[in-house]
Amino acid sequence: MPQKTFRAALNEALHQEMAADPRVVIFGEDITGGVGGDGEADAWGGAFGVSKGLLAKFGPERVLDTPISESAFVGAAAGAALMGLRPVVEIMFVDFIGVCLDQVMNQAAKFRYMFGGKARTPMVLRATFGAGARSASQHSQALYPIFTHIPGLKVVVPSNPADAKGLLIQAIRDDDPVIFLEHKMLYDTVGEVPDKPYVTPFGEARVVREGDDVTIVALGRMVGRAEEAARTLAAEGIQATILDPRTTSPLDADTILEFAEETGRVVVVDEANPRCGMAADIAALVAEEAFGALKAPILKVTPPHTPVPYAPSLEDAYLPDAARIAEAARRAARYQA
């Protein structure tokens, strides 16, 4: 099967869905880049190059650059979705949601309920997230818990190229507003990605590997780190299951509970801050519904409750790494009541 980067997988998904459905339009800041200059057109293809090449194929009517004006264009996506388009908008860093959250939280997310079921808002808001790029506090956050908290939104956090493509295609075809979060440190990772269009459904966790001793639930970039930890653990004789929920809303509670019950020991790895995050949410789920099967406390591996720091020494310490994940899994696996 062809090997592609996470970035190329997303680009292919956009190409295929735009070709398949004329209602799909994309817009965002520098989504082509260079508009108005006398040099190269589509110079950037998005700040991270994900939309490169779409302009040449689909034209400026469907690939629109925007002013730096998130409220206007994210709200426009909501309005356009209500009126029959399937917009895919990009905000360069999810941190910028601060200037346009109303459009997502109070508008797009709520139309259907407020209007008594009469609205469909098939929009996708793509944004990069995550620490590791030395981008400091306003360009590095993992804000998926904020969106997960809001009914009406679906929230996607892909961890690998194949899922990135299938989940983005599902997001574009989905009739509800979808927040699609791309970890910026994953763009250059490579994996098998089928050439043809396909969907990866929402609300279905991927069983990354199976082991009897401990269940590690991880999201986004933390999945790879959990796999690294699992290799270390395996050498020590501890076999870990790794679950990647892939979407935080809907959340595949059934699979998490199934493996929580099988192993009785659960570690949740979350790049988001610890308070009211996914780690806390999943831990609560397991505590509430798999309590009888638990043989150890549910352990969370998260950054501290601080902003994302800048200096490499600080940022590296901030992020959960394989060693911390392995240590938590060891504690859970060896815990004796």
């Binding site: 099967m1 062809p2 090997q3 194949a162 299938g166 098998e192 089928p194 050439d195 043809k196 269009p197 396909y198 969907v199 990866t200 459904p201 279905e204 991927r206 069983v207 990354v208 590997r209 199976e210 796999e227 050498a235 699979t255």
Partner: protein
């Protein structure tokens, strides 16, 4: 494998395109143990797969070169099998030579061939003077079904595993669903790969297609190997499997369906489940698979089998798992492998590879 035919080198297998290395998780035999073909020697695991490596030859396990927990690249020597009279010095010499002869990269490559407007993916191994072997996988699967045997069969010949229409990485077309249509497209792909003599092998649905194709390609076909072929079993194709597979849209029901394929249900890994689901989620694949199942795997599956067999002069080998729950083995006419389900080429890879190799040699 070695200049000294008395010493056999067991190498790290390559199971599929992306496998570059494997880890020895356990040795199932100890140095000094006699081994027979088909006996499990060791367990190897990768990030995605765990499976046993079986002995291909008889002899004594004389030396283990890679210890449990250690990782080695595909093709790397793992152990030496020889008779008791081979000296330690002779073993040393072979071990040293083998270390330096580790295969670089994998022996598998992929290409696309045009099959009457449909582009089919072909995964190829080996090469040489021998008539090429064409492998056709079963319903809902892909060329990866042959990953445990393909390289072993590629001794002195090319071995091409074709993704059937609407399967694997091949084009999807629900209009290509009947046995005749499938055989015609696969035949076009085969003709694009070789215009000379060839060997054909197929598993399950692929076995039925191989039989039809052999009937259509006449003298060019040197031998035919059918593994649990559809339409030739002791009973119908299991509805539990076909319908369960078609209906499964989530991990658990898919796992239930796939468990029917193997004798040892623990062999169904999450990776296999993921792959099966992913294949069905390709645009159009579900509809195409439903059409193929309706056209080829129902009560009509045995139709034309007798006529096709009558049209074939090449030697035919039929292999079947004794514990096949998808298509029960027939009362006669098949070599039946004990303790094996519907996926002999995966469940008993070494035995199947060895048996097929003999069949091919005999037909040359």
């Amino acid at each position: 494998m070695t200049a000294d035919n008395r010493i056999r080198i067991v190498t790290m297998p390559k199971w599929g395109m992306t496998m570059t290395e494997g880890k020895v998780s356990a040795w199932l035999k100890e140095p000094g143990d006699p081994v027979e073909p088909g006996e499990e020697l060791l367990e190897v695991e990768t990030e995605k797969i765990a499976n046993a490596v079986e002995a291909q030859e008889s002899g004594v396990l004389r030396r283990i070169l890679v210890q449990p927990g250690q990782t080695a690249p595909c093709g790397a020597p793992l152990a030496l099998i020889a008779e008791a009279d081979v000296t330690e010095a002779e073993l040393d010499a072979v071990a040293e030579g083998a270390e330096s002869a580790v295969a670089e990269g994998g022996g598998l490559s992929t290409a696309r061939v045009d099959a009457g407007g449909l582009s089919l993916r072909v995964t190829s191994a080996g090469g040489g003077e021998g008539a090429p072997l064409i492998l056709l996988h079963g319903f809902g699967s892909d060329a990866g079904a042959w990953m445990f045997v393909q390289e072993a069969l590629a001794q002195g010949r090319a071995v091409h595993a074709i993704d059937l229409p609407s399967h694997g990485d091949s084009d999807v077309d629900a209009g290509v669903a009947t046995l005749e249509a499938l055989a015609e497209r696969v035949g076009a792909a085969v003709d694009a790969l070789t215009d000379g003599p060839l060997h054909l092998a197929g598993h399950s649905l692929g076995g039925r297609i191989a039989l039809r194709l052999a009937a259509r390609r006449g003298k060019r076909v040197r031998s035919l190997t059918l593994i649990a072929p559809a339409g030739m079993g002791g009973g119908p194709v299991s509805r539990d499997f076909v319908d369960g597979f078609l209906r499964a849209d989530k991990r658990r029901p898919m796992k239930e369906a796939l468990r029917l394929l193997v004798a040892d249900e623990g062999a169904v890994t999450s990776e296999m489940v993921e792959r099966a689901l992913a294949a069905k989620r390709i645009d159009g694949a579900q509809e195409a698979l439903e059409a193929i199942a309706a056209a080829c795997l129902g009560d009509n599956a045995p139709e034309g089998v007798a006529e096709d067999r009558a049209a074939i002069s090449a030697p035919v080998l039929v292999l079947w798992g004794a514990e096949d729950r998808v298509i029960a083995p027939p009362a006669e006419g098949a070599e039946v492998l004990e303790g094996v389900g519907h996926l002999p080429q995966m469940e008993a890879a070494s035995r199947i590879a060895a048996r097929m190799a003999r069949h091919l040699e005999g037909a040359e």
